[in-house]
């Protein structure tokens, strides 16, 4: 009811409502789309060679530009098309600033990248500078130093600094994506940068590890591990050390683990009662509480950002549909009614959408978004292939998911509005179960 009254309020305020109305009680955040919202036009002048391999500056520029584009905070302006010289800009000049601002560019970025001797191995040094058209001055800069293996990370940090300066948000350029990939017939856990680079293998068990999810502090993953092929556990792995713990080892299925936003609870699915039911484990007291009681299958819990509610899949109405309940298992209500197959819910970090897999009338498995009050629903992917396991970026602007659209199962990123589909994985035979990390 509170959600409904909020909606009425929003309607009363009209379409011009700007900003975010937040209702802590119900997790419904009404975010009006600002019709006047404009991304900040930004231009990258380039990174001069500061003494080192030729590719260095180009790599920094390429990564930075991709990050700025994906931030959805900035619009990249094509400076050469405005007649602005972008190469070998050592110390950017007043004339260039004026030329850019006259053409509507609000922010200019440039720098230098090179090597510096540091004992036996040379360090990469990247300097970045920022000019702000509004104040007509160079508002600041950064100097990053590190090994050649962290050049991409330097560019990611600089991108996040820019997003932070202009929005106060931490940015997503340094976030990670955990996923499952095939290694010698087995399925193992990996973690990569959010843009698909720098994958690291996390497990080497030789059978099936599935459905990784992050701890709120990004130090751990929880996941389903098949012990000796015959039984499932929910395990915890510490990324820094590789150390593992078994959190849950009940009879039957032990799947779809999800830590609450405060880390106090692990919600998961087990079939120890004969059919799949959702439980929660208190990570402090280790007390186990059953949340669903139903002869049908209940699975795939996804926490609301406040931790007060849980979205989940249940086939109590026949086919699988998305339901909501309070975090103690009370107040269960059905959310989806359109279509005969809705599953794998993922509650957005802003609270305003629940992404899920929806089966279309043509029997295609695509991604849909539905608002927690059920009033708004939109399908954001189309075409052939099975889409699965949507997971939100911490800024709530993107989703990562798996799809067989290109034949084999690969990972893709897409904006919440269905635009800018980007494939993240290439080669290999199978990628699935992506989970986007929290922001730093």
């Amino acid at each position: 009811m509170k959600g409904l009254s909020m909606l009425i309020l929003a309607l009363a305020l009209g379409a011009g409502l700007v900003g975010i109305l937040e209702s802590k009680a119900t997790d419904v955040f009404l975010e009006a789309t600002r019709p006047d919202f404009e991304k900040i036009p930004i231009g990258v002048l380039g990174f001069q060679n500061g003494g080192g391999p030729e590719w260095l500056g180009g790599r920094v520029e390429e990564v930075l530009k991709a990050d700025l584009r994906r931030s959805l905070v900035f619009t990249l302006v094509d400076l050469p098309s405005l007649g602005i010289k972008v190469r070998d800009v050592g110390n950017a000049e007043k004339a260039i600033f004026k030329q850019a601002t006259d053409n509507g560019v609000a922010v200019l970025v440039w720098g230098r990248a090179g090597l510096k001797e540091n004992g036996k191995e040379a360090d990469v040094v990247v300097d970045g500078y920022v000019y702000d058209g509004g104040s007509d001055e160079i508002v600041g800069g950064k100097r990053y130093v590190g090994s050649t293996s962290v050049v991409r990370l330097m560019a990611h940090r600089f991108a996040d600094e820019l997003v932070y300066r202009y929005t106060g948000e931490p940015g997503i350029a340094r976030t990670k994506i955990a996923f499952v990939s095939e290694v010698g017939g087995a399925r193992e856990l990996f973690v990569m940068d959010y843009d698909g680079y720098e994958p690291r293998q996390i497990t080497a068990d030789g059978f099936l590890n599935l459905m990784p999810r992050w701890s709120p502090d990004r130090r751990f993953l929880v996941f389903t591990a098949y012990r000796s092929r015959n039984t499932q556990d929910i395990d915890l792995i510490e990324l820094a050390t590789g150390k593992r713990w078994t959190l849950v080892s009940l009879g039957g299925l032990n799947i779809t683990p999800a830590l609450s936003p405060d880390g106090n609870y692990l919600a998961f699915t087990t079939s120890q009662d004969g059919n799949a039911e959702i439980y929660r484990l208190d990570t402090r007291t280790k007390a186990l509480q059953r949340l669903t009681v139903n002869p049908a299958a209940d699975l795939s819990p996804s926490w609301s950002p406040s931790g007060r509610e849980i979205a989940f899949t249940s086939d109590r109405g026949g086919g699988p549909q998305i339901y909501l309940m309070s975090a103690d298992g009370s107040n269960v209500r059905r959310l989806t009614f359109e279509g005969d197959y809705n599953a794998a819910p993922a509650w957005s970090p802003r609270g305003n959408w629940i992404a899920h897999v929806c089966r279309t009338p043509r029997k295609e498995y695509k991604l849909c978004l539905i608002s927690p009050d059920g009033q708004k629903r939109v399908q954001i992917t189309t075409g052939p292939g099975v889409d699965d396991s949507p997971s939100w970026s911490p800024d709530g602007r993107h989703l990562v998911f798996s799809s067989t659209a290109d034949g084999k199962s690969h990972l893709y990123m897409i904006n919440a509005d269905g635009k800018d589909l980007e494939r993240l994985t290439y080669g290999g035979t199978h990628y699935s179960s992506p989970a986007w990390s929290p922001a730093l």
Binding site: I138, R200, G206, T231, K243, I255, T283
Partner: protein, 261 residues
């Protein structure tokens, strides 16, 4: 992932542990050193994870890998690290110590550059220890499959989205039940499999429904339930990998294997 970086990553993975200096510190951790004890722990827990009935560490109360999946749930682990946000702390200081905290743009001018910010490897990640687990699992699977084939055990196939045993399935299981009853020492594992359509999670549930339907029918035919274990592999271990109906049909299956010691 991009092919080139994937290859590079493999090389790194096999080689050195990721060097990860804290973002705000000039000190960086040298590869390999200082993390030996944790790697030893890692290797130890991994070898534990491939032995039936052995728990991953002292803290876990795992159930044994014996036949029958429905036994008493052994419950949750009694000890693991604090996962709460308050317990761990996510303030700027702790985020910075992981190399994560942003420090803002610094004023720069003629002759005055920004202070050096040392960039480490981001989130710390240990290298993976290739274990003997993989080859052992493959060997065990081969023996299970060979034993089932030698026994002539037949599989059961299902319709789309269904876990109902068909007439054909009942005939296969009647044959299987006779064999199991005639071989009193045998232990059977029933694997539930699904085609690739639908979600990973819901297919794990569907696979379990299929495996249990097979088990229940065998019990109806007089096979003792404690000789039958069920496990669901969902769509994670397909028999056939093409996106065709004949391939999907192959993957919607209750697969019987003979458990070998």
């Amino acid at each position: 992932m991009k092919a080139r970086s994937f290859t590079a990553c493999l090389v790194v993975m096999l080689g050195v542990m990721m060097v990860t200096g804290a973002g705000c510190s000039k000190k960086s951790v040298q590869a390999g050193s200082g993390s030996k004890s944790s790697e030893e722990r890692l290797a130890k827990s991994r070898s534990g994870s491939v032995t039936p009935g052995e728990s991953l560490n002292e803290g876990s109360l795992g159930m044994s890998g014996g036949a029958g999946d429905i036994g008493q749930g052994a419950g949750a682990s009694s000890s693991f690290p604090d996962l709460t946000v308050s317990g761990r702390g996510t303030d700027a200081a702790s985020a910075g110590s992981e190399g994560g905290g942003l420090r803002g743009l610094e004023p720069v001018g003629p002759g005055k550059g920004a202070t050096e910010e040392r960039v480490g490897g981001g989130t710390l990640m240990a290298k993976v220890q290739p274990s003997d687990s993989a080859s052992r699992q493959i060997e065990e699977m081969r023996r299970e499959q060979a034993a089932a084939a030698a026994a002539g055990l037949r599989d059961v196939f299902f319709a789309f989205d269904s876990w109902t045993i068909t007439e054909e399935g009942r005939m296969a299981l009647a044959h299987d039940a006779e064999w199991i009853k005639a071989n009193p020492g045998s232990l059977i594992k029933i694997e539930g499999h699904c085609d690739e359509r639908g979600t990973l999670a819901y297919n794990l549930v569907l696979g379990e429904k299929r495996a249990k339907a097979v088990r229940n029918y065998l019990v109806e035919l007089g096979v003792s339930a404690n000789r039958l274990a069920v496990v669901s592999y969902g769509k994670e271990r397909p028999f056939c990998r093409e996106q065709t109906e004949s391939c999907y049909q192959q993957n919607r299956r209750g697969h019987l294997v003979l458990r070998t010691k």
